[in-house]
């Protein structure tokens, strides 16, 4: 095993150790007054109740799918025997990452509010370092999972045979599907939960009862705060855990394939390089966390700059040190791979900045939407949709430019198809570059809901105005970082999707080898075949040759059917999840109305609402409503693969990827812009609070809620899950496709 590999488990332990240290540090802080602690306890209990229920459902799904994979692997021999276990651990680790992050966040909110009573800097430090627990846990667990599986599989298969290394990496890739299933439930379920609570709280509490945001008299207000944690912390954590390990493993698989004939040593280096870069990034993320601090009375710009110091500092450090490490590892095409990595970093930053530009009230697009509010809700909706659609251009151009450049650099400065494997490895390295400092970028993301909850806690506890001003400043900063974080999540999903397309072909080859192992000749759709005795012929097939044999060309109806189905699925999934939010919010509305009616003394503050009941309603609704979209996402690649085979699945992934990425970016940015357009008006523009423009902007914000927090982020996972699943069931698709 190359010595550099050991950096992976070491970095994993350091990241997890730092996360534990930050957690302990946070726990030493006081929760403040009795009221503050009581409110935090309500939120914590609600979040745990939700997660319990969610893990119960996901547990059933994970175990059921594991059994299916066991049958495919051990009864029909269509799959690698390690797949069921890799799948299961991916799901468990992903869930664990989300659970730890959420647990931390729910402990941190009251402590952040209390720290803000002392100073802004203290509040920022508690909130950010609590967010870092999430970021470092995700990368720590991801690297641990990767390291353990790599050690186990290399011990079992050995690394002398180049083809075995390909098998190892593609097998490891399957634990990404477990993580993807977990993240689908966490993101979609969490998204439905949080928006049902949010919309329900707003519609009855604010509009009907006229009570303000975060008012303890609103029965749904605790559920709303719980939702911030389950959606934006646990959901985001599970989502990015899946992206992180997916990107590293897809790149490792691409490296194994790209350097198949370069000798075992070079091939192994190519396999572990993405892992080492991830490890290096996580170590630098820990350093970056310590760079974040601010002075008392800091402006929003200074607060943003202090977070930027941590994130950008880590990015600069990874840019420099990755070159040194790749050089010391003796990587072939050193400068090309390093440039690909830098391209990935820059692509991530571009997407994040574009998201910030299109969603922040400091820039023209959001101001224009706010201006449109002067003429009513219809123009807010039209303006928001228009700006949101336009916001897709820069991220898509960034991803395609990044993809093209990374391919060019990775392939040794060529766009030729003869070096396609190397080019695809370059794309994988770009994706690794984008997510290399996930430890700290995710910290800034998880910081958002912590600061938001701290603001809610300060408000409900009636803390003095100067404290609320500080928590408001922290919260406002969190809104910007959340938009940037979503941009990163979506951008990385796009690059991961492209990398996984190539990995899929490698998995198909392994699927064919299982067919050949059974003594059966394999016949490709173009009529060519490989005899069961000629496995080496299969190993020598390039990606382009595989494409030719499977007739993956645009005019092949199987590809077109797959593409259109994929694009349609992105819209269908969005529609189903949006309607799910509407239905779940309806249940919440009924419950809040019932409590106002049946519990005397809520409005006078003499009686406490039944918060737990609202949490329970949102939980049940989320679990119920996410079943159909989950089944849709899980079944689509199987059904398309069963009917149209490999060309159909590739079309499906391409269509879903292209449409899903664009639609996801559109929904996330549109929702974010509507939210901030409302905030811009509330700051005292176009009539300010209570004006007709404000009323119109509130409608836009409510429409945008499921856009930005349910359907938009959910689409990432749809795309990634379908790619991962296609890889996992590739053996099945190869063996039994009907057409």
């Amino acid at each position: 095993m190359p010595a550099w590999f050991w950096l992976v488990p070491v970095a994993s332990i350091v990241a997890l150790g730092a996360a534990y240290g930050f957690f302990r540090q946070m726990m030493k802080e006081s929760e403040g007054t009795e009221t503050m602690a009581r409110i935090a306890a309500h939120v914590r209990a609600g979040a745990i109740a939700y997660l319990k229920q969610q893990y119960k459902v996901v547990g059933i799904v994970l175990v059921s799918l594991t059994l299916v994979f066991c049958v495919l692997a051990y009864v029909f021999h269509m799959q690698n025997p390690w797949v069921p276990f890799a799948f299961l651990t991916g799901g468990l680790f992903s869930g664990l990452a989300g659970f730890i992050g959420m647990r931390t966040a729910t402990y941190a909110s009251a402590r952040t509010a209390n720290a803000a009573r002392q100073s802004l800097n203290h509040g920022l430090r508690v909130a950010f370092r609590s967010g870092a627990v999430m970021g470092l846990t995700v990368v720590g667990l991801g690297l641990l999972d990767i390291a353990i599986w790599f050690l186990v599989l290399t011990r079992y298969y050995g690394t002398d045979d180049a083809q075995q290394v390909v098998v190892i990496t593609t097998t490891m890739l399957t634990f990404g599907m477990g993580a993807a299933v977990q993240s689908l439930f966490a993101r979609v379920g969490g998204g439905i939960f949080t928006k049902a609570a949010d919309v329900g709280a707003d519609l009855v509490g604010k509009i009907e009862a006229g009570i303000p945001e975060d008012d303890p008299r609103n029965p749904a207000t605790i559920a709303d705060n719980v939702g911030d944690n389950v959606g934006d912390v646990a959901g985001m954590g599970a989502d990015l855990y899946e992206s992180y390990v997916g990107v590293i493993l897809a790149s490792a698989a691409l490296g194994a394939a790209a350097y198949l004939t370069s000798g075992a040593e070079i091939q192994l280096k190519a396999v572990i390089a993405p892992m080492v870069i991830g490890a290096l990034g996580s170590l630098l993320s820990v350093i970056g966390v310590f760079l974040v601090s601010t002075k008392e009375g800091a402006t929003p710009k200074q607060l943003l700059a202090s977070l930027g110091r941590g994130v950008n500092g880590s990015a600069v450090m990874i840019a420099v040190t990755s070159l040194l490490v790749l050089a010391m590892m003796g990587m072939p095409n050193l400068w090309g791979l390093w440039l690909a990595l830098i391209v990935g970093l820059l692509t991530g930053i571009t997407i994040g900045r574009a998201a910030e530009y299109f969603t922040s009230q400091g820039y023209k697009p959001t101001m224009r939407i706010a201006g449109a509010a002067k003429t009513g809700p219809a123009t807010v909706i039209i303006g928001g949709i228009g700006e949101g659609m336009m916001s897709v251009a820069i991220p898509v151009l960034a991803v395609v430019s990044g993809t093209g450049l990374a391919y060019f650099f990775g392939s040794g400065y060529s766009f030729g198809t003869d070096t396609m494997s190397l080019g695809l490895y370059g794309i994988g390295m770009a994706a690794v570059g984008m997510l290399s400092t996930l430890g700290i970028t995710l910290a800034t993301d998880a910081y958002g809901p912590i600061a938001d909850n701290a603001g809610g806690n300060a408000e409900m506890s009636g803390l003095p105005p100067e404290v609320r001003e500080r928590t408001d400043a922290l919260d406002s900063l969190g809104n910007t970082t959340a938009a940037t974080g979503k941009g990163f999540a979506i951008g990385s999903a796009a690059l991961t999707g492209i990398a996984l397309l190539a990995s899929y072909i490698e998995e198909v080859k392994i699927g064919i080898s299982h067919v050949l192992d059974r003594g059966v000749d394999y016949v490709f759709p173009d009529g060519s075949s490989i005899a069961s005795t000629a496995v080496e012929q299969l190993e020598g097939l390039s990606l382009m040759e595989m494409m030719t044999r499977y007739e993956v060309v645009l005019i092949n109806p199987k590809v077109i059917i797959g593409m259109f189905s994929g694009a349609m699925l992105a819209f269908l999934f969005s529609g189903i999840t949006m309607k799910a939010v509407g239905r779940a919010a309806g249940l919440m509305v009924d419950e809040v109305r019932r409590q106002f009616r049946d519990i005397p003394g809520i409005m006078s503050g003499d009686a406490e609402p039944d918060y737990a009941r609202c949490v329970s309603i949102s939980t049940k609704a989320a679990q119920h409503e996410m079943m159909f979209p989950s089944i849709l996402a899980i079944s689509a690649p199987v059904v398309i693969g069963l009917i149209f085979g490999v060309p159909g699945v590739l079309g499906l992934l391409a269509g879903a990827g292209a449409a899903g990425f664009s639609l996801s970016m559109f929904m996330a940015n549109t929702g974010g812009a509507w939210d901030n357009a409302k905030k811009y008006i509330e700051e005292g523009h176009h009539g300010g609070k209570g004006s007709k423009a404000h009323e119109a902007a509130v409608i836009g914000d409510t429409v945008g809620d499921p856009f930005k927090d349910t359907s938009g982020p959910g689409l990432n996972i749809l795309v990634k899950l379908m790619s991962m699943e296609a890889i996992v069931v590739a053996g099945f698709t190869v063996a039994v496709s009907l057409v």
Partner: protein, 259 residues
């Protein structure tokens, strides 16, 4: 139990209740079963200062009694028409502003002190009529103008609030009016220009009647009660005091959509 007398402005009514002001404001804003909501503006009335006012006070004594289960009588309407004119200004001991969700701010009366600096004012009349007016008159002059018998158009007593004009106060064409939540700002500018162009003109109607609730955050200087004998001022606390000492009310007041 004490029986309280309240003079409500929206709608105009004299009400007897066994609820103290905060509870009455909550009840009046959201009802007994939380099926409705709406802001309320009402005065506490000192019965001892009503003199020989033509009001059915004996009805209050007879019918404003606790229910059989011991719960207090929440409201007994004593008069719903021309109630304000029958309650002497001196009897109005406190003004209560209840938000949509029933938070109540109580404001004590003060002697009106003329602020000579302001030359342009925006007034929202609250009772018994509800037009919105721009005026060159200060609150005392405005009250006198509306209640003086020398004019054909006058009322016996008037309650009105002065609303903020922001930058329009000195310049009707000022572009920075972003935090003024009034509908049709262009028309308001026209009215201010017309007022400025005609030195003899004392008032100009902006809106014939109130179509929205009063956004409490727009009230500047306070609420005034005027009649031919003088004016009483009910000044709101400063924004800083509202933020610090009446936070719950202030948040609710800002959340109100004004519908």
């Amino acid at each position: 139990m004490t029986t309280y007398l309240y003079l409500s402005l929206i709608p105009e009514a004299l009400i007897a209740s066994m609820l103290p002001p905060d509870d009455f404001g909550l009840y009046y804003a959201i009802g007994s079963a939380k099926r409705s909501h709406g802001q309320a503006i009402f005065f506490s009335v000192d019965r001892s200062k009503l003199g020989d006012a033509d009001l059915p006070l004996e009805d209050a004594d007879a019918r404003c009694v606790a229910h059989a289960d011991g719960s207090p009588k929440r409201s007994l309407y004593l008069s719903i028409y021309r109630a304000l004119e029958r309650v002497p200004r001196e009897a109005l001991t406190a003004l209560h502003l209840a938000t949509d969700d029933g938070r109540v701010l109580t404001v004590e009366p003060q002697e009106f002190i003329e602020d000579g600096e302001d030359r342009t004012h925006l007034y929202q009349e609250l009772c018994p009529v509800t037009p919105r007016i721009v005026s060159a008159l200060n609150p005392a002059e405005f009250a006198e103008f509306l209640t003086g018998a020398q004019s054909n158009v006058h009322v016996p007593r008037i309650v009105f609030a002065e609303l903020t004009l922001g930058n329009l106060k000195n310049d009707p064409d000022h572009q920075d009016v972003d935090n003024l939540p009034y509908p049709n700002i262009g028309h308001l500018r026209d009215c201010l220009r017309e007022l400025a162009a005609a030195p003899d003109k004392a008032t100009k109607t902006v809106l014939r009647q109130m179509t929205q609730e009063v956004l409490f955050r727009t009230i500047r200087n306070g609420v005034f009660v005027g009649d031919p004998t003088g004016i009483t001022s009910f000044p709101l606390p400063s924004q800083d005091a509202l933020e610090r000492e009446h936070r719950a009310w202030w948040r609710s007041a800002q959340s109100t959509f004004g519908q």
